[in-house]
């Protein structure tokens, strides 16, 4: 039947008024058909149907047809659905019947509603989520820009400028959803994820690389002003205030978590920029108390420390700087010191594996460097005095007492707060021994005093006093004597110079540093004979000293010291400051005789030729001496311009040599002193195990401030002696070889 009717319709299409009516009837038929027997429509009929639709499209009749359909749907609803509902209500007078009827009517109505809803939802397009999401994202953007948008800015969505009505559209669509009750099933989940993503995005972009501003309050305000307000607008009347505020809490919590994570990921950078990033740390501290991300923080930070700090590419001073910054920032983050302990553990271990740690710590303590440990040292004074009256302090601050963090191990009581906050003692404890630290300080001090005679003793004394507060007088007594030596020798030199000049024997002005050998670290021994003139003068100086201080004499360390000299040449005068005695002696020898053979000079100065050649290099770089033929050096009085190019290539020797024996050499010497004990022991007792030797040495030999030797080190030492055939080792016992 339907096929025929359709055909009819196509034939009558042009007949003006009538066409409406016919089309109408045909569509009614189609609707009726699909309702009564939707499955049984034959293939032919369906094809024809689509053909008809094609034709209708071609004829531009879509709108008319559409209107017709809507009209019919309306009619269907009016004639069938509504009637069916209200039919249930009969004009009965019985209360029970009316009650029943009304219920029945509503159920019928609801069934139709469900039908509609299920039809709608069952045909959800696959990417409806994307569409809904974009819709809400745009809406959220409007909400955020509402306050800030200037009139001439283009709408990012529709591209028009001032009179953009997208926002209006958004709220309109939204209220339709709400009214239809579709907001919850269709959009709520997407809405939530959208908001979460939006918050995450916002937090990440706002907090990127800015550590000097606290973001917590602005973020919270933003959340309140933008997100919550927007939510209220979306749900207008549907949601009660209570539910919104519940969601609000959830969102705040979420924001805290995101913010904490962002900050934790930036934590390494925050630590490095410590004093400037204090607000970021404060934020993080607040956040940590609201979230449970402490383990995450520990893990993350340790990881970034490992990848960014604790590898060979980073210099020790940099690690120390970072370490100090870590201590300070952790102090802000967690006053209980628990985090600090866990975080710094790997740094400790790593620093221990580096040779130059102590040296770096000491030099950063005494020099004004980037890690400003010197300030810390001065601050330490106050700390130390605090410790005398701990009880008062604690009583005053009892209100600030905080319980230990939950992840603290109750079996291990937390270290004293004061201790953990003291950076210097933490640094010194990296190595576990004060002695080592003090020794290193002593060597560095000696070096500074001897290589730069202009050394500011006042400053050194101040530092020494500060260090004494921390390490005690006994440890630093040696250093005190060293500084006193320097001050004394200035006075003595003054005296002697006066004596010498009054007797008119002062052609080479000599000053001296007179040291108390017992209190200085071992010097690097080098042999060197000075120029006879200088030697002569030194003897006079010694004689003067002997008369000044009865029964005492001087032993010169001839290779140490500094010389200021002028060299007058026919065409120029050179002023040289702080050359070493060896250099000065060389040039003095060349003054006497303008050409020297290397071996000859080496014999006179008693300096090995290799060393001497290196030292002559210094004068070659000054264009004063040149090598005319192998091993023969000639003084150049007038610098020939042509030679300069050649001469320039001579490498200037590295002058930054320490005057002190290296720690390794010193250690070697110390161990050597034990050797005599060991041989004595073995001579008497025949054979001994390692532990026993160590015990005995501990009893007799390990005395004095510097001599201490671990079992491991002793074993190492004895094993070397075994290799050198000075000992025999069998069955765990050491023996002297039978000679």
């Amino acid at each position: 039947m339907s096929g025929r009717q359709l055909k009819r319709k196509t034939t009558i299409k042009q007949s003006g008024d009538e066409s409406d009516k016919i089309a109408n009837s045909s569509y009614v038929t189609i609707i009726n058909n699909s309702e009564s027997k939707p499955v049984s429509t034959d293939v032919l009929g369906r094809n024809e149907f689509y053909q008809v639709i094609e034709i209708i499209k071609k004829l531009n009749l879509m709108d008319t047809i559409h209107d017709l359909i809507i009209k019919n749907v309306e009619k269907y609803v009016c004639n069938t659905v509504v009637v069916e509902c209200w039919m249930c209500i009969t004009g009965s007078n019985s209360e029970a019947e009316n009650f029943q009827n009304f219920h029945k009517a509503m159920v019928t109505l609801y069934n139709y509603y469900l039908l509609l809803l299920s039809a709608l939802l069952s045909q959800l397009p696959l990417d409806y989520k994307k569409s809904v999401r974009h819709f809400y994202e745009v809406g959220l953007k409007y909400e955020e820009n509402r306050g800030t948008e200037s009139s001439d800015e283009l709408c990012s969505n529709c591209g028009s400028n001032s009179n953009c009505i997208c926002a209006q559209y958004f709220y309109e669509a939204n209220s339709i959803l709400l009214e239809l009750g579709l907001l919850e099933p269709l959009a709520s989940q997407i809405l939530t994820t959208t908001i979460y993503d939006y918050i995450e995005n916002h937090v990440e972009t706002t907090c990127k690389d800015r550590f000097d501003v606290s973001f917590l309050t602005p973020l919270q305000k933003w959340l309140e002003d933008v997100i919550i307000k927007w939510l209220r607008k979306i749900y207008t009347c549907d949601y009660s205030n209570k539910e919104i505020s519940k969601f609000n809490k959830k969102l705040i919590n979420f924001m805290y978590e995101i913010y904490t994570k962002v900050r934790i990921n930036q934590l390494f950078g925050i630590i490095i920029e410590y004093p400037d990033s204090i607000s970021a740390l404060q934020d993080l501290k607040t956040c940590l108390s609201k979230t449970d991300l402490r383990p995450y923080l520990t893990r993350k930070l340790q990881k970034s420390m490992e990848t960014r700090l604790l590898h060979t590419g980073v210099s020790t001073p940099d690690i120390l700087t970072a370490y100090v910054a870590t201590i300070r920032s952790m102090r802000v983050l967690d006053p209980s010191g628990l985090l600090l302990g866990t975080i710094t553990q790997p740094i400790h271990q790593y620093l221990r594996s580096r040779d130059d740690t102590v040296r770096c710590v000491v030099s950063s303590l005494t020099e004004e460097g980037p890690s400003d440990l010197a300030d810390e040292l001065i601050k330490g004074e106050a700390l130390q005095t605090d410790e005398n009256t701990p009880s008062d302090d604690e009583e005053i601050n009892w209100e600030n007492w905080l319980p230990d963090p939950v992840d603290a191990d109750p079996n291990k009581p937390l270290a004293n707060n004061r201790r953990t906050s003291d950076i210097i003692s933490m640094l010194v404890n990296v190595y576990g021994s004060r002695e080592l630290f003090v020794n290193e300080y002593r060597t560095l001090l000696a070096d500074r005093l001897l290589t730069s005679l202009t050394c500011d003793t006042e400053r050194e004394i101040r530092y020494l006093e500060l260090l004494k507060l921390r390490f005690g007088d006994a440890q630093l007594h040696y250093c005190e004597v060293m500084l006193k030596d320097i001050v004394d020798s200035k006075r003595i030199t003054q005296n002697i110079k006066h004596d010498l000049s009054s007797s008119g024997e002062n052609d080479i002005p000599i000053s001296s540093m007179i040291l108390s050998a017992q209190f200085w670290p071992a010097f690097k021994e080098e042999k060197c004979e000075l120029h006879p003139n200088v030697d002569e003068q030194m003897k006079k100086y010694t004689a003067c000293f002997e008369t000044l201080k009865g029964n005492r004499t001087l032993y010169w360390k001839k290779h140490l010291g500094l010389v200021d000299l002028d060299i007058e040449l026919p065409d120029r005068t050179m002023n040289l400051y702080s050359v070493t005695p060896i250099h000065a002696t060389i040039i003095l020898h060349f003054q006497d005789k303008s050409q020297w053979h290397l071996d000859e000079l080496s014999r006179i100065m008693q300096v090995p030729p290799t060393v001497l050649r290196r030292k002559i290099g210094f004068w070659e770089s000054q264009y004063l001496i040149t090598q005319v033929s192998p091993d023969i050096f000639q003084l150049v009085e007038i610098s020939a311009k042509g030679n300069l190019n050649v001469l320039r290539e001579i490498i200037v020797e590295d002058e930054s040599e320490s005057a002190m024996a290296s720690t390794q050499d010193q250690r070697e010497e110390e161990l050597q002193t034990f050797w005599s004990y060991v041989t004595g022991m073995l001579m008497n007792l025949d054979s001994l195990p390692l532990e026993r030797i160590h015990q005995v040495l501990k009893m007799f030999a390990f005395q004095g401030p510097t001599t201490e030797c671990s079992l491991q080190e002793l074993k190492h030492f004895l094993d070397r002696k075994v290799r050198e055939h000075q000992l025999v080792y069998s069955n765990g016992y050491y023996k002297l070889p039978k000679s």
Binding site: V481, D488, S516, K549, R552, T553, G561, D564, L565
Partner: protein, 85 residues
């Protein structure tokens, strides 16, 4: 060429001119100081006896004070007399 030395700062260590390295009483080096002292040299001088033995001044004084009867050199048991050479 003429080299004019404006100043030559040498480094030297001082030493007591004595016939021994260590004090016979405290067994500490002469160039150090006696156990009661902190600073060597002028603050903790040596003294010589007529018997040619020498000690830290503080050490021998303490020794002499502890000897009620006759004051002897702890090394050679001769009567102790300061050698004011």
């Amino acid at each position: 060429m003429k080299v004019i030395i404006k100043n030559w700062t040498g480094v030297a260590t001082w030493k007591w001119i004595a016939n021994d390295d260590n004090c016979g009483i405290c067994r500490m080096p002469f160039d150090g100081c006696c156990p009661d002292c902190k600073l060597p040299g002028d603050d903790c001088p040596l003294v010589w006896g007529e018997c040619s033995h020498c000690f830290h001044m503080h050490c021998i004084m303490k020794w002499l004070q502890s000897q009620q009867v006759n004051q002897q050199c702890p090394m050679c048991r001769q009567e102790w007399k300061f050698n004011n050479k």
